[in-house]
Amino acid sequence: MAVSMKDIKRKIASVQKTQQITKAMKMVAAAKLRKTQEAALQFRPYMYKFGQIIHSLVDSSSHLEHPLLFLKDVKNVDLIVLTSDKGLCGAFNHNVIKESENLIKGKFASKNVSPVLIGKFANNYFKFKGIQAKNSYTDILKDKATYEDASMIMSQVIEDFINEKSDEVYVVYNKFVNVLVQKVVVKKILPMSFEDSVPVGNVTEKFLFEPDKSSVLAELLPKYAKMNLYESMLESLAGEYAARMTAMDAATTNAGEMIDNLTLEFNKARQASITRELVEITTSIEAMK
């Protein structure tokens, strides 16, 4: 019995250490979450207004006026998969990868899909699966998402789209709904079209453009595409920290439960050994009478 008590004690100490670590990680995630969440939420009004402008612009343009508006016969699809670089954030990455997998096997089964991977998780997974990625980026989503990174990644994608190497571009990412909920979203970035988007009033009449329509389109459309990816990056990053915080919170609670159970077991073992000793003493006294 004495050995088992020692064992339990050791187990308790080890779980306690784990608990300390998960607790610290939760704190760190919470601090980072605050910043990234703020960035993501503050960006929403900009994106919303930009969306309105683009929407009215697209509504009053034909599909032939700018390469980014071309609706093509879809053969090649670029799929941007946004994951994190670090783990320990629950099903966060798994959900995105599962969704991409579903898309590749389902909706895009007859198409030639080239993944553009962001984050170590997507990279490792697709490498493991033996699927060749078109481009892969790691270590760009750390403490904050930058527009420069989004712009750099998107420039390449836009170039391929214009050169007809791809016919449609989608991004799969976790949208930050609230701290407890991250929703996997598949967003179509190119070609730009609006079926289910920001509602704007009736914009059937034509616009006045300055300097002229083609230069306004040429400036706004690529920027919007980049902003679109930037938005996904911000949302994904906030989601990552939220997921990690929740996961670490759950881990801390579980560790607490484990400690409680182990302590109970320890006490039982101790009580048993005391009882046995007492029985031994009383029986020996009885024997001496």
């Binding site: 960035a39 503050q42 009004p45 207004k49 009215s56 914009v203 453009f209 706004l220």
Partner: protein, 131 residues
């Protein structure tokens, strides 16, 4: 009356009803009053001037912006927006001079010419906003 919102990447700078707005278009400054024709343009670095419904005037320095007006809704989105409170006059002044001198030393074809011109426009407009 126009409904106006000015937003940047990180925040909503202004939202409210205005009676007049002037903004620096790429091909020249323009003004917008009620019932303006639907209009989209890109903005140059410069100062956006609005007159709020209450008659109060506000000025913003806008960098990398786009402008749209549809049915009396004005949207200005920009990479950066500054108000006079955001600007340190001494800092703007020293930078204006720095880039002015640099610009003078550069040739029109130089690689850095556009960048320097842009920086000069930014800081000189900052100075304009505070003075």
């Amino acid at each position: 009356m126009l409904n106006c919102s000015i937003v940047t990447l990180s925040k909503k700078v202004f939202e409210g009803n205005i009676t007049y707005m002037s903004a620096p278009g790429k091909v020249g400054e323009f003004g917008v009053l009620q019932d303006h024709e639907n209009f989209i343009t890109t903005l140059d670095v410069g100062i956006v001037d609005i007159t709020a419904e209450s008659g109060e005037e506000k000025k913003f320095l806008v960098i990398g912006g786009y402008f749209e007006v549809t049915e009396n809704n004005v949207i200005v989105i920009a990479d950066e927006v500054y108000t006079s409170e955001d600007i340190d006059k001494a800092y703007a002044e020293s930078n204006t001079n720095k880039f002015k001198d640099k610009l003078a030393s550069l040739n029109f074809n130089d690689e850095e010419y556009e960048k320097t011109k842009f920086a000069y426009a930014k800081y000189s407009n900052m100075l304009k906003l505070v003075s």
